[in-house]
């Protein structure tokens, strides 16, 4: 029987997404239950008859992190998957097809049910600062993998940011990563396709080399994320529907019943959370095995290792997801040493340093400019010296003229509170000068090679990306100029890097 896929485009609080209903499918790709011990659940993500990733946890425990490990490689299922994943990924990221059209062949491979599909930025790490591709060959508990994170709470939506590989690490080659990097530099967009597994983690079905290339060259890595819509939620407490199930949810979105067609709702309710694929016995048998890597001596490039360090971990992401919005007033309140605003509302948390940490994490992910200014303000506030180490360690991964100013100020300061930060500041200054030099050279080379000025899109892709958004070479040049201007102003006694934010006044007071 041919798989039926119906699609609706919707908009949620976190952005636009596609809602897809899959029926009469052959369940080529899916997640099935392969538990062997009572009380311990094991879910296995499979493709064809290959068991790819196992997720193990104690029964009825939504708050505990899951043990996740790879069992095989998706390459072994290429026979049944064909080139559908590769083509879908290429078609979307090259702009040849819109998401609704590009993703259709992949949806036909999934098991029956409702799915939310969206495109989001992901970090190819295990949520603990390790490159994702070689981090799941040993069974261990993965931070941020619990379906319910008390830090984020039940009401917040987020795009799952971390990845679990489905391809064996033997697929990693410097040559392939180099080729993908060349595509990036030439202006092509690269991405991947991922299927959400649990908590903040999705299994990368396609785009492992692209992920490695993006991370090595400090580009953002975007993924088409497919999230099974498999949870129900009750109405707001105290409302008319308090005890009624009124909506469906996945990490990215909550959709009220009234926004879903009856046919799709019927499809949701008739599908069970546990499916038995055609090759269940073989999958279950293979799920007991561990992935044998065979190339353990192989290492990822040093650039990947270095850039991964600057990526946020699961705790940072959770604290960032926990905050809806932070106004300048809120930041001023925190900088003034208080956790409650003038109206008596708690800004983030009653715990002051927790509030500072959350605010730093949130700004680092959502608003780089404000992050730098806020971090700078903290580092210049003697009352917040306990947070210096944390903030400086977050700041050091961002190549920015203003950050350089802050670290220069720390290096030159004789304040004893900065003693522990001096080595970070000096290292940063060295890296920053290498970075600006390299960026300018690369910018000039790119233009010389092309023989003509680049379009704005090309130039933005050609530059090196920072953690909180890709940075173009042009941006770097502008920053470089700003830095020089700043140095001139500073020599006259000004502080251009912080003057734009009101909170710096607070610090100066």
């Amino acid at each position: 029987m041919k798989t039926n896929v119906s699609i609706e485009s919707l908009k949620g609080s976190a952005g636009e997404f596609i809602l897809a209903s899959v029926t009469s499918s052959d369940s080529i790709i899916g997640i099935c239950d392969t538990s062997v011990k009572s009380g311990v659940c094991r879910k296995t993500m499979y493709a064809g008859s290959e068991s790819l990733v196992n997720i193990q946890y104690r029964e009825n425990n939504l708050e505990s992190n899951r043990v996740i490990w790879q069992t095989s490689s998706i390459d072994k299922a290429r026979g049944i998957l064909g080139t559908k994943l590769v083509k879908s990924c290429e078609n979307y990221f090259s702009g040849a097809a819109p998401l609704t059209k590009a993703i259709l062949p992949v949806l036909e491979l999934l098991s029956d049910g409702l799915y939310v599909i969206h495109v989001g930025k992901v970090y190819p790490t295990d949520g603990a600062g390790n490159f994702f591709w070689d981090s799941y060959t040993v069974k261990h508990e993965i931070m941020g993998s619990a379906p319910y994170n008390p830090l984020i709470g039940a009401g917040k939506c987020f795009s799952p940011p971390f990845l679990v590989p489905t391809q064996s690490f033997s697929g990693y080659t410097e040559v392939a990563v180099g080729a993908a990097a060349e595509k990036l530099v030439s202006g092509k967009k690269l991405g991947g396709i991922a299927l959400h597994l649990t908590g903040m983690f999705s299994a990368l079905l396609e785009g492992h080399i692209n992920a490695a290339a993006c991370i090595a060259n400090n580009y953002d890595f975007n993924c088409i994320i497919i999230e099974p819509l498999n949870k129900v939620i009750y109405g707001e407490p105290g409302g008319v529907d308090e005890n009624k199930i009124v909506a469906l949810s996945c990490p990215f979105v909550k959709i009220s019943f009234s926004d879903i067609s009856r046919k799709m709702l019927e499809n949701f309710f008739i599908n069970r959370s546990v499916t038995i694929p055609r090759d269940y016995d073989e999958i279950k048998w293979k799920a007991d095995k561990m992935l044998s890597n065979g190339v353990l001596s192989r290492k990822v490039s040093s650039m990947i290792d270095r850039n991964v360090e600057g990526y946020p971990d699961a705790e940072m992401m959770a604290s960032a997801f926990a905050i809806n919005d932070l106004s300048d007033n809120d930041l001023n309140t925190l900088l003034s040493g208080s956790t409650t605003d003038d109206e008596g509302n708690v800004v983030i948390s009653q715990n002051y340093y927790e509030s500072i940490t959350y605010a730093v994490n949130y700004l680092q992910l959502k608003d780089k400019r404000r992050f730098i200014e806020f971090a700078g303000a903290i580092l210049k506030n003697p009352d917040l010296s306990a947070a210096y180490g944390y903030v400086a360690n977050r700041l050091k991964y961002i190549m920015d003229a203003k950050v350089n100013e802050i670290f220069k100020f720390i290096s030159e300061s004789e304040d004893q509170n900065y003693n522990s930060l001096k080595s970070i500041a000096e290292k940063y200054s060295q890296l920053y000068s290498d970075y600006t030099e390299g960026t300018v050279k690369r910018f000039l080379n790119t233009n010389v090679i092309a023989g003509q000025p680049q379009t704005s899109q090309q130039s933005s892709l050609a530059g090196l990306g920072g953690l909180t958004g890709g940075r173009s070479a042009a941006d770097a040049l502008i920053d470089f100029a700003a830095e020089r201007r700043g140095a001139q102003v500073q020599s006259r006694g000004g502080d251009p890097s912080l003057s734009s934010l009101e909170l710096s006044k607070q610090v100066n007071k």
Partner: protein, 289 residues
């Protein structure tokens, strides 16, 4: 929970203009609205199967699904398997179901069947159920039956003594007659039991749709089970801890569960040499009645 891998069931019920969707949730669509009433199984407070309907009670609402809304027997089995599977482990549910030929699905839990020792499929034959029923009732009423027979014998002896009076002379004669009267009483009660067992079987035929279905019988290290083939997923068993005792007849081995339901395993479905092994395997795990 059990039978979670069984596909959901959509059931339009024209009698009350509703469509029920039974799966991980209990969803009810009124025909004039597209927004369903949805319940989690843990909020069920009562479940009943009567001769002509199923009733599922929630705190807010009670739903009655007539059996004539189902297309066939298979759909009835499918429905009650999902409901009972989802209700297994849910505490505080008032359950009213009639006698079934195989144990209800509340008793099952997820298990590893990869090392199943004995598996067979077949339909129950009347003699297996009858002999099983008789044997079961007899094992329960053995003492009262023979107590009644003995009392009848003593009673008839005393009655004959009272009427005939000449005890010294007819002592042996009275004793023999009293013995046969007692024996006869016991046999009559036993025959009534057989008639009752036959009646019970015909009752199963009328009441329980599983009687005419192919049943999969499994005996494994983790437990045992008798599950209709049409809904068999190969993932559920009744744990051995739930078995109370077993009894064996010429035609079957019956395992009695703690909720008094009986899992009757017909011997003829197994090879001759397997039959002894099966009995020994069960005997090693459950006490014999």
């Amino acid at each position: 929970m059990a039978f979670e891998a069984l596909s959901g069931l959509m059931l339009p019920v024209s009698q009350n203009d509703r469509t029920f969707v039974i799966g991980d949730y209990f969803a009810v669509f009124d025909d004039d609205t597209d927004i369903p009433e949805v319940y989690e199984w843990k909020s069920v407070i009562g479940y009943a199967e009567t001769s002509d309907s199923f009733e599922v009670d929630f705190e807010r609402e009670k739903y009655m699904i007539p059996k004539n809304a189902f297309i066939d027997n298979m759909q009835i089995i499918h429905f009650r398997t999902i409901v009972e599977g989802m209700l297994s482990g849910v505490k505080g549910v008032q359950i009213r179901i009639r006698d079934r030929i195989i144990p209800p699905k509340f008793n099952y839990s997820n298990a590893d069947l990869s090392t199943s020792v004995f598996t067979a499929t077949g339909i129950y034959a009347e003699k297996e159920i009858n002999t099983g029923s008789v044997s079961h009732i007899y094992s329960k009423l053995k003492f009262p039956i023979w107590l009644i027979a003995a009392l009848t014998a003593v009673g008839s002896f005393l009655a004959m003594w009272g009427i005939g009076r000449d005890l010294d002379k007819n002592y042996i004669f009275y004793l023999v007659i009293a013995f046969f009267i007692g024996l006869g009483t016991g046999i009559v009660i036993y025959l009534i039991m057989c008639i009752f067992a036959r009646y019970r079987y015909s009752g199963f035929l009328k009441r329980d749709v599983s009687t005419v279905e192919n049943i999969v019988f499994i005996v494994a290290p983790d437990g045992f089970g008798a599950i209709e083939q049409c809904i068999y997923c190969g993932k559920e068993l009744i744990p051995w801890s739930f078995a109370k005792y077993y009894y064996e007849t010429k035609h079957s081995i019956s395992i009695v569960c703690r909720d008094k339901s009986v899992c009757c395993i017909p011997k003829h479905l197994f090879q001759k040499n397997e039959q002894n092994d099966l009995a020994e395997y069960i005997a090693a795990r459950v006490a014999q009645d």
